[in-house]
Symmetry: C2
């Protein structure tokens, strides 16, 4: 048994045990450990990591002494020990959770505003490409990355992944081309997999990627199932799926930056029913001792986000309905797919940087959070492979993120919206009153002036934001009814605060 005797609060304590060889080593029932401290007590399953190695991972939530005991039929005898969880280092704010119904915060109380992007299978590319992706992410505004456990087969996704999650051999890839995947799907012949035997190296590699993201302050929004498949990973049996879910829970749940995204486009996975998804959710709820964030992303119709296990709405749709979805579900609204900046053949992947930036602002001012993706024709498309960003929206999204971070804490909510104008104020009513913060956003509208009536009680400092050109200009201090001149261009905003 190996382990480190000191670990940060919200870090990962890992037990590494040598165990017996068994016929079905990947069943998580072979090893489990109980951790206890003054403030918590958790029993977690371990997992088989190849050779004769069994591991148990645990995230302590308190900076204090922990005791643990390990048992399991692969061990000769129960084991036990202690370790110290110490205060977190500077970049460690703990896991993200839902803070005030519609917004998120880290466990240490620091607000977390999701500014997500999507690179579906970036971690299954070459080391060189992965390194480039991480370098790009480091310089980007993004603090959440959506990606899949399973490889992706689709237009622009013809090449094989770097490895496979199961022992076996894949189909030869059939006739997939960059333009056309007709006739390809999970029933493509030629796959030979042993769904009872994972390749531990595959999952170890993903863990490395999750930790690299953690080092960059990026949440790993890990997609458990998706429909774009020529290997049969989307049509495993119910038992195989449950086996898989327990294994990934045992391996991944301890990482504080992990989120569970049950599906990309659950409704496009025709082999699974609502009953399946509910059962999957139950398994993850039971096998994730930390209650990581959980969502399920639609292609067409939404999943029922009011289900208790859904922590936030992960939505594919333009942002104009954000306020309605907040009301309908009473949960944070994250628009993980609002169409992507790019120029490929599909409508979902060929909007302009201006339009994607606009959608981010619309989501923000309606009390939600947009998501980015990029699909410019080329060898590697950011949306799937990572690499470098070619687009013009990330710089504007960074500008928006700064505006959001300068707002009163706790996120924004939409204020009475007339026509297409939107206005955001602090979610917290006390902060709203105290700050007088208002963020008006005009999107495609081009007023040359606007009248405001802020009442006669307070002075307001008024700034004009050009969200495309990324400028902030102080317009003056006003009270009562006043007129602000604007440039008659698209993508302008007005920010006000009590002086």
């Amino acid at each position: 048994m190996k382990y480190t005797e000191r670990v940060e609060k919200w870090g990962v304590f890992e037990l590494c045990c040598t165990g017996k060889a068994v016929a079905d080593p990947f069943a998580v029932s072979h090893i489990r450990a109980t951790f206890s401290s003054a403030h918590e007590r958790k029993t977690v399953s371990g997992f088989y990591d190849g050779g004769r190695v069994y591991k148990v991972r645990f995230m302590p939530s308190f900076a204090e002494e922990y005791r643990f005991s390990v048992e399991g039929d692969v061990l000769d005898a129960p084991l036990s020990g202690t370790f110290a969880a110490v205060e977190p280092s500077a970049g460690n704010h703990g896991p993200v959770g839902v803070r005030n119904r519609f917004h998120f915060a880290y466990a240490d109380g620091m607000p977390y505003f999701p500014i997500g992007t999507t690179c579906y299978v970036w971690e299954l590319q070459s080391d060189e490409l992965i390194a480039r992706t991480l370098k790009t992410l480091k310089a980007s505004p993004f603090n959440k990355l959506r990606f899949c456990v399973f490889p992706k087969s689709y237009c622009y996704n013809a090449r094989e992944p770097r490895a496979y999650p199961y022992e076996g051999t894949p189909t030869d890839g059939g006739n997939v081309t960059e333009d056309n995947v007709e006739g390809l799907g999970p029933d493509t012949p030629g796959n030979q997999w042993d769904f009872s035997r994972f390749d531990p190296a595959y999952f170890r590699h993903i863990e490395g990627c999750i930790l690299k993201l953690q080092g960059l302050g990026i949440e790993a929004d890990l997609i458990l199932f998706h429909p774009y498949d020529r290997w049969g990973f989307s049509t495993m049996t119910r038992e195989q799926n449950e086996f898989y879910l327990k294994y990934v829970c045992a391996r991944f749940a301890a990482y504080r930056n992990l989120w569970w995204a049950f599906a990309n486009e659950y409704d496009f996975i025709k082999s699974k029913t609502t009953e399946d998804w509910e059962r999957f959710a139950q398994i993850v709820v039971e096998n994730d001792p930390y209650g990581r964030l959980r969502s399920i992303h639609n292609g067409g119709p939404f999943y029922d986000h009011s289900r208790p296990w859904v922590t936030h709405c992960s939505i594919q749709r333009p942002p104009e309905g954000t306020a309605d979805w907040r009301q309908a579900y009473g949960k944070p609204v994250v628009l993980d797919e609002m169409q992507y900046e790019g120029n490929i053949q599909f409508a979902w992947g060929n909007i302009s940087a201006q339009e994607l930036t606009r959608r981010f602002w619309e989501a923000l001012c309606r009390g939600g959070y947009g998501g980015h993706g990029e699909t410019y024709v080329g060898e590697d498309l950011w949306w799937s492979h990572g690499g470098e960003l070619k687009g013009e929206s990330p710089a504007r999204i960074a500008f928006m993120r700064k505006v959001l971070e300068e707002a009163p804490a706790g996120g924004l909510k939409p204020k009475g919206m007339a026509w297409d104008d939107v206005c955001a104020v602090p979610e917290d009513e006390a902060l709203e009153r105290e700050s007088g913060y208002h963020l008006f956003y005009y999107g495609i509208h081009r007023p040359t002036f606007r009248w405001f009536d802020m009442g006669n009680e307070d002075d307001y400092d008024v700034e004009i934001l050009d969200t495309w050109n990324m400028t902030v200009r102080f317009a003056g201090r006003f009270r009562g009814r006043f007129r602000i001149e604007l440039p008659g261009r698209e993508y302008m905003a007005v920010r006000m605060r009590k002086a």
Copy 2:
């Protein structure tokens, strides 16, 4: 009794009688005439036109001999006579009606594609400004004009109209300013009107304007009621409204280019109920012997366009719902207000020319018809006053009109729409099959190429349309599955026809 002995089919035959002075001359019950020919027989009410003059107007629908007889309590004795309705001259195609459920045609069978604009009170401006408006219209693509019988009081509408519809004196205008009409409304004090006495000159002037439009091939979409009022014309009693409706029917119904728009923004006229609108409709149906087109325009929620008297949906909304509204109401969908090109303070009046043009194309490709308006800050705003057009959308709308006129007859309908892509094909299924006409429109989307599969039976001639730069480029002749390269810009369309 004066009248012309020869009149064009679909022209106006006007009887002018000298009658007795009566206490309530404007009641249309004082004079009526019956017209009969081999193919039709109609009895129509006349109207008082000032002095001792009573008039009766009639539109013959057949080129043949007509007999008429006039009677009424203001006449000493019944009168009668005959006239000849002759074949229409070149520009006279008769009144527009609904042709094939979702589209319009003139009475002679020529298709009519509404390409409307709005100048709410252009006819109540100075002669000089009216002349400029007509000159602008003549050079424009527009063939329908929405405007009001009653004057308008609103932002940018502070000045008094050239005249008033009733005998009396108006309010002094109160504190209306270009930016602010708060506190102004139909209950503004100081108005003194005799709602039983119209000013015939006011209505005669409007008739002149209707005829000027007719001369330009423009339909007069005449708005009977609207909410933007400081004179009390929007809050007359039920009896006064009925009196008014019968009078305008008697005066205007015979003009073949007249459409009845019961309201601009019926739901913003708080003084009127659904019962009122239904009663108004009944009066117009009973008093308009020609069954002119009838609509009622919303501000927020739609009126129930499935009501039998509604001939087409006049809608204020962006065009994305067009296909749904076609299905819901089974009638032509005319998007008379989709927001206007301009730069005023309001969201409804400050979209770009690109965006308004895009909305026209979206409406077209979803089986409906867009409407134009222009609101650039200045002395005269086209949307209300007419004058000159400053914007860039009319030229693009003219290009779209040409594309529409080059399509197979009978209008377009939407074909299976995936994501945000739209494709229009001929409404008529036989024409659809025969022509193979497809109009794909990409809007804000920017594909650099598209794949098509048109089947192996026919060759297709493919053209690439740049709807903003107004160009058509032949891309080649193709069959089966083929790829078309596109420029990766917004606002592109692809047109195909069987070779």
